[in-house]
């Protein structure tokens, strides 16, 4: 349903995405893994149309995304650092999002309730802690019941209970044939959630395979160990240099 075709992106001299070719299907939960600065966020932002690749096409349901903004109706996005208008109250933020997306009928306020956000509706975004902001981001991402969910470091900054609530939510939504793209550095989280693993190094796609295949190949039972083994070997680096 989501195709990334020959995407290239450079920031100045730095090559952030190097000829990336991937196709994602519904029902997959893809863990996007790679060292810092490997292009994970740039890839996500390209899919969202926030970053404009120099060449290549991204297709959603067969249609190139460059021509139309409406495909974003079907994507829920939780940014790495959720940044919101400082003076806006939490409640106003949710009202605004609903107002700007009038005509949509499917709402999912499960996370709003689970995180007890109505209790802080009067607080302005400026006064929220980093973790609370993350909860707001998560609730916003799931609000419109989108079939594609893109989560950039979803559990970073969340307390254990809130992280657990989010992971349970992701698990339930996965059952509803949604596509999840998740970046994280917390391997245990990804192991619980992911069905597939995409590994990026310096803007290059090193591999994209199912979690089970990866474990079988490396002979490790745990994702963290498997990835560590790959990072330590020159497997990840050989194809770059």
């Amino acid at each position: 349903m989501l195709q990334v075709q020959q995407i290239n992106k450079t920031f100045g001299k730095l090559r952030v995405l190097n000829n990336i070719n991937i196709g994602f299907e519904r029902g997959q939960a893809v863990a996007i893994i790679g060292p810092n600065g490997s292009g994970k966020t740039t890839l996500i932002k390209s899919i969202l149309g926030m970053v404009m690749p120099e060449s290549g096409t991204i297709r959603f349901q067969g249609q190139p995304i460059q021509t139309d903004a409406r495909y974003r109706r079907f994507i829920g996005y939780m940014p790495q650092i959720g940044r919101y208008p400082d003076n806006m109250q939490v409640g106003q933020l949710f009202d605004m999002m609903r107002d700007l997306r009038k005509g949509e009928t499917a709402f999912d306020d499960e996370l709003i309730q689970a995180y007890k956000l109505p209790a802080i509706y009067q607080k302005t975004m400026r006064t929220l802690s980093g973790g609370t902001r993350q909860k707001v981001s998560a609730a916003l991402a799931f609000l419109f019941d989108a079939p594609v969910m893109i989560l950039d470091e979803p559990t970073a900054g969340l307390d254990p209970l809130s992280a657990e609530i989010l992971k349970e939510k992701i698990g339930r939504e996965k059952q509803r044939n949604k596509l999840f793209l998740i970046t994280s550095h917390i391997m245990s989280d990804l192991e619980e959630l992911a069905t597939d693993v995409l590994y990026l190094v310096e803007g290059q796609l090193i591999f994209f395979k199912s979690l089970d295949a990866l474990k079988a190949e490396t002979g490790e039972a745990r994702l963290g160990k498997a990835i560590a083994q790959i990072m330590a070997s020159d497997y990840g680096v050989r194809s770059v240099h």
């Binding site: 404009m52 974003r72 999002m97 997306r101 499960e110 044939n177």
Partner: protein, 280 residues
């Protein structure tokens, strides 16, 4: 209990249907920009300042024409400065808001033009009330109306330039620097250059060239339009007479309105084009 059903997606045909510009979305975004600006209180201070200045000039000068002249001079300096600097800073501070909007099914141009509309409306209302009401109360003539219309057009032009300055640079300090430079050039430097060139080429018939030069600066266009209303052009000798002749004519007035519209539309158009390709 949540029903665990797969959610359906529309056919690709619905996704491929051509998008039309949606003025409703633009207005909707503008609405939230206005809310945000109102919370800021700066625009309210600007409005009160304009009221205070207008009232005091009309009260101090016994002759409303003189009051209008002094008011004009203040407006031509302060209005461009406030419009361009406030709009630039606010747009940089709206980066979070734009980021949030960009993840939604909204067109980039709608988001950007919504920002413009909200900002322009807020500043225009402040000027319209702050200067318009006192001018109508104390003067109440056509020239008062011309002053208000010129001020509104000038506001639109400088907000336009502010939006261009903002998309040209990611760095806030540099963007504000560009905005200040534009203001300095239009309100102070440009007239100096024109005067110097008139002085240097005083042996040549320059009057037509000076008329041409006025079109290259929105502040001059507004100034000339106002001076003609105040009959002050008669004091400016031969050039003034020529100004009166040219800008006083229907053609001249039409051309200066057109030039002013270009000063509003052109920077904004370029800014939208850049914004549509910008990485966030």
């Amino acid at each position: 209990m949540k029903i665990s059903t797969s959610i359906e997606l529309p056919q690709s045909a619905t996704l491929a249907a051509p998008t039309t510009r949606s003025p409703m979305q633009m207005l909707n975004i503008a609405k939230y920009v206005v809310y945000d600006i109102l919370r800021n209180k700066f625009v309210l201070a600007y409005l009160l300042f304009l009221v205070a200045v207008s009232m005091s000039f009309f009260n101090l000068e016994s002759d409303p024409t003189k009051g209008m002249m002094s008011l004009l001079n203040i407006i031509l300096i302060v209005l461009p400065l406030v419009s361009i600097v406030f709009a630039t800073i606010h747009l940089y501070n709206s980066y979070e808001f734009m980021e949030l909007m960009l993840a939604q099914p909204l067109r980039r141009s709608d988001i950007f033009l919504g920002q413009y509309l909200g900002m322009a409306a807020s500043l225009c209302i402040a000027f319209g009330v702050g200067v318009g009401v006192p001018v109508l109360l104390y003067d109440g003539s056509v020239r008062g109306l011309v002053l208000v219309v010129c001020g509104l057009l000038l506001t639109l032009a400088f907000v336009s330039m502010a939006f261009l300055a903002t998309v040209l640079s990611r760095d806030k300090a540099r963007g504000i620097g560009v905005a200040l430079l534009l203001w300095f050039f239009c309100t102070i430097l440009y007239d100096g250059i024109v005067l110097m060139s008139m002085f240097a080429f005083s042996d040549y018939p320059l009057e037509k060239a000076v008329i041409g030069l006025a079109f290259l600066n929105p502040v001059d266009l507004a100034r000339i339009a106002m001076l003609l209303q105040l009959d002050a052009a008669a004091l400016m000798g031969y050039t003034g007479a020529l100004f009166q002749h040219f800008f006083g004519s229907t053609l001249g007035a039409g051309l200066s309105f057109l030039a002013m519209s270009l000063w509003i539309a052109l920077p904004l158009w370029i800014a939208v084009r850049i914004f549509r390709k910008k990485d966030i």
